[in-house]
């Protein structure tokens, strides 16, 4: 294998069409006979459906059908969980359409099929839905009271409690010289993609085949679900991945519409397309992040962390969706992050509420835990009189301890280990790039009306979820090679990085890689897609295996042609050389070989962040003056794209730290239903960000040596910003306990801190959930 293109900042192949507006997203498709679907969604957060009367809607010219649960023989199917499908979650799974009850504002009740979206929306206005409202469960506290149950048959609103454990936390606390207990919260926000979701389905009654466009992220898994729900063999369904306008964990999971639209297409025998509008997107796409913790730390006087224990309450929304348990699980398992903590006992409870269900969003559970942990660390370092950089350095997992075992999580009984890295080295590099020593004197200074604050922290980022990925290579008539891959593209540059890997694996120039075909279910025998920063590690490793298999096939074919043993055949670039003659790949056109990579372990990218902020205490406004992140992510395929993803995810993290929040009222009404209410980072907000991407420690667990990357920017952002704000406003005793740090929240903390200079203990947050009393 060569190393010509891997590691180079190769310009992206897909950009050539994107910059010309020639990408093809699902809404760009318009087959003949197309009907448009629009979805009637519940305006009530919790209630019993008495009746749905669509008779007036059906009279509108151009309306073809209105589909409700009653049209589904045997009742609407449920959507199974993709990750952590534990039996305890079964009763909380979502049906594809509401039949007897609604559980959140935005839940589908009916689907209108019409000649145009506008006519369909006219029809929505004419459907009379009678819902008997029930009291809504609007947060974890209300959920824990259990006087209002979302699912009466369950007798509880708690779907599960995970426990992460190592050592003996209680014993360590008994003898610890120092402990501190704090409560923190993260706000609800989500992986908003610029392209709203969309599905288009075409049913061919003659052949019994279904084609579903708009597939993303995990097309093979979603096909499995859909085949079962539709009563079709998997082979009768083709999932087609078009260009996808962003993923971030949220796009491409199996949502109700992923059944409703194919069902509708078969129901009326015409192609049906549904494109989500932004208001729907804000209430129907997976939400994320809303969690509260009550957490306690025990330390030795020298700052060595002895133990961590506590409880998290995670607001799940109304149903357990396909990957809904991931963040809650990660909050328990990854609270310790990159730090060595011998004794841990953390619980994480999943509470159902009458809000949009949650799923993963880039860095699931990690953005939350890094805020909780890094905030707590700064408080502890201050208490102990230890420099906060030194406190972190002392507790980071040392390189000598790799691979390092993480806490075991139950009820999975699963454990995980960090693969490789030099965490202290990354911290030192970050401080150096940032100029920490020079900037330290600015801490707490008031200059030109703004208070200056600094923060630093460290993170790990998991990647490379198994169990498997598949890649296939095929020789074209002109001797170039086409790549087919089970990994999916959500905008991360799959067509470029896999062409780089394939070119180096085959030892060909990149232009001899004709194309990288990804995502769709027709390309390879099985695929697992794009999640948990897995595409490059898993797909790239499978590609190496496919290369070996293709070379074996060529040797076998050439040995017949040349009449020699296959061991006598050598391959150099696209030349096939035998003792009795030469040939080229073009002579073996049509040969195709699949390869796969099996993996049970995870890669861990890691690094450090440092920030310099200023705060206008009068209006609570934060400016990022400088922000440096160092990310060490194993073998780098394309430094340009990985750096781009680090910066992009960092800005998403800063959005979650300072701007983005989905608000609900106590009746479960979403109050942030437009982009004028839900604030996203814009070009003017964060101009001063620097990312340094390094490849110090190749992963030992895959032949490429690559690690999953692209989430490292987002993970630390909340904790770093909050600590920098606390540092800036130390004279007011400001200690943020909640994200996002909106101007109002900062202003309120400053106001509360005025007059009593430094307040040691912040006001406690309301308790939440059933938890064991503190010892």
């Amino acid at each position: 294998m060569r190393n010509t293109f891997i590691g180079s900042p190769v310009e992206r192949r897909e950009d050539v069409r994107f910059v010309r507006g020639r990408g093809q997203y699902v809404d760009d498709l318009r087959p003949d006979g197309l009907l448009h679907a629009v979805i009637l969604r519940s305006s009530v957060a919790h209630g019993r459906i008495r009746s749905v009367d669509a008779s007036a809607a059906l009279k509108i010219d151009g309306v073809h059908a209105v589909i409700t649960a009653l049209d589904m023989p045997g009742g609407p199917p449920r959507i199974p969980m993709r990750l952590q499908p534990l039996p305890e979650f079964k009763p909380f799974e979502q049906s594809v359409i509401a039949d007897t009850k609604v559980h959140y504002v935005g839940e589908p009740i009916a689907v209108v099929l019409a000649e145009s979206v506008a006519v369909g929306e006219d029809a929505l206005e004419c459907i009379i839905v009678d819902i008997e409202p029930l009291p809504a469960v609007s947060d974890c506290e209300a959920s824990a009271k259990a006087d209002r149950l979302l699912f009466e048959e369950c007798g509880t609103n708690r779907a599960m409690t995970f426990t992460a454990e190592c050592g003996d936390a209680d014993a360590a606390f008994k003898t610890a010289p120092y402990t501190r207990r704090e409560k923190f919260r993260t706000g609800r926000h989500y992986g908003l993609t610029m392209e709203p979701r969309g599905v288009m389905a075409e049913w061919d009654a003659a052949t019994g085949r279904l084609t579903v466009s708009g597939a993303a992220k995990v097309p093979f898994f979603n096909r499995r679900i859909l085949a079962k729900q539709m009563g079709l063999p998997e082979t009768a369904i083709a999932m087609v991945e078009n260009d996808v306008g962003g993923g971030f964990g949220a796009r491409g999971e199996f949502y109700p519409e992923d059944f409703l639209i194919p069902f509708a297409a078969r129901h009326v025998g015409r192609p049906v397309k549904w494109i989500e509008d932004r208001r729907e997107n804000l209430m129907a796409m997976n939400h994320a992040r809303q969690a509260a913790v009550d957490i306690e730390i025990a330390c030795a006087r020298d700052g060595t962390i002895l133990a961590l224990r506590g409880h998290a309450d995670v607001d799940m929304g109304a149903y357990m969706r396909t990957n809904g348990a991931v963040a809650a699980r990660n909050i328990a398992q990854f609270m310790s992050g990159p730090y060595r903590i011998a004794n841990i006992e953390l619980q994480s409870s999943l509470w159902m509420t009458n809000k949009t269900p949650v799923g993963t969003y880039r860095g699931p559970g990690r953005f939350e835990t890094d805020f909780f942990r890094e905030r707590l660390f700064d408080m502890v370092a201050k208490d102990l009189g230890i420099d906060r950089v030194e406190f972190r350095r002392r507790n980071l997992v040392p390189a000598s301890a790799m691979p390092y075992r993480l806490p075991t999580i139950t009820p999975f009984e699963s454990s995980d280990e960090i693969d490789s890295g030099d965490y202290r080295g990354a911290l030192d590099r970050c401080l150096e790039e940032f100029g920490w020593a020079d900037k330290a004197k600015l801490q707490g200074q008031l200059i030109d009306g703004r208070y200056h604050g600094l923060a630093v922290g460290c993170f790990i980022e998991g990647g490379a979820a198994g169990p498997k990925e598949t890649a296939r290579l095929e020789i074209n008539p002109d001797g170039s090679v086409a790549v087919f891959i089970g990994s999916s593209a959500v905008g991360q540059g799959v067509e470029t990085v896999f062409a780089q890997i394939a070119a180096d694996a085959l030892e060909l120039p990149m232009e001899r890689i004709s194309g990288v075909h990804h995502g769709s279910t027709d390309y390879v025998s099985d695929g697992y897609g794009a999640y948990h920063s897995r595409s490059v590690v898993m797909g790239g490793s499978a590609l190496l295996d496919a290369t070996k298999n293709l070379h074996d096939l060529i040797r076998a074919a050439a040995s017949k042609r040349f009449g020699c043993a296959s061991s006598e055949i050598s391959i150099s670039e696209d030349r096939v050389i035998g003792p009795g003659g030469n040939s080229t790949f073009a002579d073996f056109a049509g040969l195709t070989a699949e390869g796969m990579f099996l993996n049970k372990k995870h890669t861990y990218t890691y690094g450090a962040h440092a920030a310099h902020v200023t705060v206008d205490a009068k209006i609570g406004q934060v400016e990022i003056v400088d922000y440096v992140t160092v990310v060490d992510c194993g073998r780098i395929i394309n430094p340009m794209t990985v750096r781009g993803q680090v910066i992009g995810s960092l800005v998403q993290g800063l959005g979650g730290a300072l701007l983005e929040e989905l608000h609900y009222d106590e009746e479960g009404q979403l109050l942030t239903g437009s982009l004028a209410d839900y604030l996203l980072p814009t070009a003017g907000d964060f101009p001063n960000l620097r990312a340094i991407v390094t490849d110090m420690f190749p992963s030992p667990i895959n032949p490429l040596g690559a690690k999953g990357a692209g989430e490292g920017g987002i993970i630390s952002a909340g904790g770093i910003v909050a600590n920098a704000v606390a540092n800036a406003l130390a004279t007011f005793g400001v200690e943020p306990h909640e994200l996002p740090l909106t101007p109002q929240r900062i202003w309120e903390m400053v106001e509360a801190g005025q007059g009593n200079r430094i307040r040691r203990q912040p006001a406690p947050l309301p308790a939440c959930g059933e938890r064991s009393p503190p010892p």
């Binding site: 310009e11 610029m194 392209e195 260009d243 905008g491 960092l650 964060f686």
Partner: protein, 155 residues
């Protein structure tokens, strides 16, 4: 009702419902799908096109309001042979990932650079703040636009 305008240099008359937005007309009637729809309420900028040289959100005007206008979309700013200097700069600076916001970014940048080829980074950020990108964090987009300024300067 009929509406007549020029799109990417071609004069045309289209029959539309009065309530049809210009972006829906461009995408679904004229099949110019390079202009994208991200919010339909004028916040995200994905649907930005040029109307008589100005960057305009095509989701906020009705097709019938464009009567007599000169409309240019991303397709009109592209050619088959090679990338324009602005497009090449976007590619070189990795100023796009998923590509969904990109046509709106390029039309906005084109309008800006046509008027102000000497604009600085602050001005680029100010103008660009009406276009949301969720992938890049904007830094590379600003760099790409600054780097393309020379192509817009009069010799």
């Amino acid at each position: 009702m009929p509406v007549t305008f020029q799109v990417n240099g071609k004069q045309m008359t289209v029959e539309v419902e009065p309530r049809m937005t210009l972006v829906d007309c461009l995408r679904h009637r004229l099949r110019l799908t390079g202009t994208h729809v991200g919010c339909e309420h004028g916040v995200c900028g994905a649907c930005t096109i040029l109307v008589d040289g100005d960057a305009v959100r095509a989701c906020l005007i009705l097709a019938v309001q464009a009567e007599g206008c000169n409309i240019v979309t991303i397709e009109g700013l592209s050619n088959d042979e090679e990338l324009t200097p602005l497009q090449a700069s976007f590619r070189r600076h990795h100023a796009l990932q998923c590509g969904f916001c990109t046509p709106g970014m390029i039309t906005t940048a084109h309008a800006l650079l046509s008027e102000e080829p000497d604009c600085d980074a602050d001005r680029v950020r100010e103008v660009l703040s009406g276009n949301i990108c969720r992938c890049t964090g904007y830094i590379s987009i600003v760099e790409a636009i600054l780097d393309a300024r020379s192509a817009y300067r009069k010799p």
